[in-house]
Subunit: 418 residues, 3 copies
Amino acid sequence: MEAGLFTANNVWMMICTGLVFFMHLGFSLLEIGLTREKNTINILFKNVFIICVGLLMYYIGGFNLMYPGFAEGSAGILDFAGFGIAPPENGMTPEYADGGYTWWTDFLFQGMFAATAATIVSGAVAERVKLGAFMIFTIIYVGIVYPIAGSWQWGGGFLSTMSYGTAEGFYDFAGSTLVHSVGGWAALIAIYLLGARIGKFNEHGKPRAIPGHNIPFAAAGVLILWLGWFGFNGGSVLSADPATTSLVLVTTSLAAAAGGVSCFIVSTICYKNYDLTMFLNGILGGLVGITAGADQMSPNDAVFIGVIAGAVIVGGVALVDKLKLDDPVGAVAVHLICGIWGTLAVGIFGSLAGFDQFLVQLAGVGIVGAFCSICAFIILGILKATIGLRVSEKEELEGLDRHEHGMDAYPDFGLNEH
Amino acid sequence: MEAGLFTANNVWMMICTGLVFFMHLGFSLLEIGLTREKNTINILFKNVFIICVGLLMYYIGGFNLMYPGFAEGSAGILDFAGFGIAPPENGMTPEYADGGYTWWTDFLFQGMFAATAATIVSGAVAERVKLGAFMIFTIIYVGIVYPIAGSWQWGGGFLSTMSYGTAEGFYDFAGSTLVHSVGGWAALIAIYLLGARIGKFNEHGKPRAIPGHNIPFAAAGVLILWLGWFGFNGGSVLSADPATTSLVLVTTSLAAAAGGVSCFIVSTICYKNYDLTMFLNGILGGLVGITAGADQMSPNDAVFIGVIAGAVIVGGVALVDKLKLDDPVGAVAVHLICGIWGTLAVGIFGSLAGFDQFLVQLAGVGIVGAFCSICAFIILGILKATIGLRVSEKEELEGLDRHEHGMDAYPDFGLNEH
Amino acid sequence: MEAGLFTANNVWMMICTGLVFFMHLGFSLLEIGLTREKNTINILFKNVFIICVGLLMYYIGGFNLMYPGFAEGSAGILDFAGFGIAPPENGMTPEYADGGYTWWTDFLFQGMFAATAATIVSGAVAERVKLGAFMIFTIIYVGIVYPIAGSWQWGGGFLSTMSYGTAEGFYDFAGSTLVHSVGGWAALIAIYLLGARIGKFNEHGKPRAIPGHNIPFAAAGVLILWLGWFGFNGGSVLSADPATTSLVLVTTSLAAAAGGVSCFIVSTICYKNYDLTMFLNGILGGLVGITAGADQMSPNDAVFIGVIAGAVIVGGVALVDKLKLDDPVGAVAVHLICGIWGTLAVGIFGSLAGFDQFLVQLAGVGIVGAFCSICAFIILGILKATIGLRVSEKEELEGLDRHEHGMDAYPDFGLNEH
């Protein structure tokens, strides 16, 4: 392979790595924007913790666990030449990964993905979860559960070879299931075990909107996430192949745009209100929905997938409320429900469409869902039974920032007269 | 062409596409920062709407309209193989566009440009425009007016071949006229038809500054826009040619820096005040000013263009006030006046300089200006006569957020004692 | 060299240039976030000024001063073919700089670095420095002091050839010393000459925390800086060489993650508090610490360097307090102390480790430190003796925004009832 092609491929993959990293800023801003001022520091703390610990866990063992055959000489979870991982002999040459990137780029790109799953949970459990319990959960979920599920597909495991009829294996291009649903299932289990925030449901069980504190942050977060998805999906091509990467960016952006517009229209019809938050969640729904098949869809397909994802969001948010679950940022609707939708859409739209493929997709959704739900239930259940998952009522009412962190998010703000 | 070069070119163009997308976050933060808290959701809603609908409109028809010969087999505005567009046979190969990018990259890059024109209008009409009217305007202006004007130059139309004496065609590298003035003319017409915000001019017609609500957002917006301009101008090279792209980034950055410093000095002399907002607008003026000739200028030329643009901003903002027009974010001064300045500067500085070229540039400015003004006047005039352009006095005083969106931008903010 | 490789290299370097530019947004948000609302405009003004003037100064003379032999036909500090600089004959070809980038990319990348040094000072002197004095200081420090120190190493000067025993020259990959300590020494001198903010130390000399006004801005700033460091360190490879660049991104990110976690743990042990600000400063400490040897370290080394940097931050912040110095953003601990640590770490960890190298590193730290301290002392001392460094007590108490800028950062905020 010519050096220019290898270098261009690796440049693209490094940029995509940076963009996926940048998504963590997007998630952080979205989550704090949609929640109350008194819990802002706590949410930021969780997000920063996730990035750092997620990356370190992936370095210590997650990468090897997820791609068991890739690191030569590595011994399972931990390579105790000290700790951490070391590249295979040809890891930095074009022979590795068809010249799409180096082994270190591979590690860092995948490591940035890994932390995403926990971030999704972070938003759902916001404003009432105990920080210590969440940190322990993150370490286990990012370090072990996520890579095991990932290995079944991207590590060449049984999902990737699970054929049925004309369908040759489960397909999840960039992780509608393997990232977003993995996070989404844990979010669902977590909010079930945690219970709703005080005041979310009145005595008759009717949900009440608890407004966030900074919608501009939420909007900025979504735009940053959209940009980050250029890397999330664009990098999942695993090279800079011009035809595929540029198609993927187009399908990704059109699905986002269609998801936003669709969600805006449907929610305006339902609620007679130009709801910015629904518009933003629709964009995210479109992005999650296209993720499983971004390289398999025509742009027209992408628009359809986005339109449906946008409508699904409106229903999903209502459903979560109906189930008396409390999901402050809409993580279950966006990441779990649209993640499932996107995964199934591979069997309906695009070049893999077919009933057999649909069934395989469904099976993959079910298997990953069962595994993640059970793991999340066990981890969180043990935490609940031991150190407890939820802060005290007093702490919840007064805010986690002051109790867990001893500080306010805007300590000096408004102290000057205007 | 070697695969490495094609791939590197396309990688650059995809990154530039992402950066131009990111400009929408910059515009959003700038616009909300310079306007009042009570209209924040409304402005964000408009901006998010513009991105999504702009992209979809460009997909449905704008791209074909702007580059009529480029999509093989496409039938004018709409290609009804369903809807949307499909690449020509060689669209994903190095044979397309001299190997600078694929056809899908081309579409997405140009699509991100398209939405920019409407965003410029969004800032000028803020705090008093009816959302419904603005949405209809956006769909028509981005979907039809912008691509028609663009086709005259970038689609190989008559502006690009309009020679006079030694001048071989109108020149507008990245859109001082074709993007910024296209938006700027509509902004001018719109604020004329809309009228000033309540309280902007006192009974003697003297303008009063209506301060924004979040200057840090405005500053962040400008820095993001500067970064985005790396893609806006850098991508307009239409390949990653090292000599041209790197020169363009240098001229772009030097013009921005010179514009900022010049505007800061001139405004400090005029108003005895270190005015951050003027500094920021000076940077934007320098960026808009260099855009028409960023590849034709030496870095020294770029500094001169920026210095003049910075001074022009000070005069332009004063002129808009003098004309009793109300432009909350300075869009007319930045995008229209500096857009004209930058276009004319191609005839004064750089490798195309000459009196004939100056006349051709002037003609191009006039033709595009007349077309856009008339179109904007017709569209907005019809809207004004039918559904109305402006919200009620009550709604304007109480804020558009509560009336059109039923929510506040910072609903929970300050509810906790500090 | 094949065109694809040259193009891919230059693309990477242009992106890194953009990322280093983006760091200025990170610094701006971090600095305003950690300081009080009443000085926000002032800090933003300083930061925007630094970017613009830093770039212009580097264009007018700094680049030539730093890399004396690189620009053919240039005459020392100023090339009076007008002003500014012009590329050497082969500057835009693969023959320049081994095809890693063009001469204009080189200029812009280095120019973005130059402004960083002054930005570091900006945070330390915040809330009490006179704007005029700081602007003069910036012009001199960025325009002359920084490039002279830089020329000693990166311009091929005596530091780069200062061998001792087995050590072949001082090593500072991306500027732990040449950027961060250069800024850090000036910060230290400046806060010594300025004195502490009113209220920082009580009558018994005990330090009091003066909380900032917007911790989400600070957190966003740090995440943006981390992303920017992809360009800061990744671009310092001076090409897109896949093996080196990808290793550098891994060592950079692991050091950041390890620094954050380490600082979080140490500060939690010391202060019984999950302190987000310490977590964030730990990340920055890890980033500064790895900068000197990011290409020489194994990922394991990077983790160790980060862990130590995180602990060093906790001690450094305490030390600054103990010395009765007032550093609102922790610039001395992060940039000076971790800059020194990172530079020395090149002699302890990684492929250059050895006692001779350690001594050479120590000598380099001392020489640059002495030079910068003396220069900063002279410049700031003269300014103090003439126009004065510090604003009046009244201005400090009421805020610099109103006195120097005549405006508030959030003028309209909170004027509407919620």
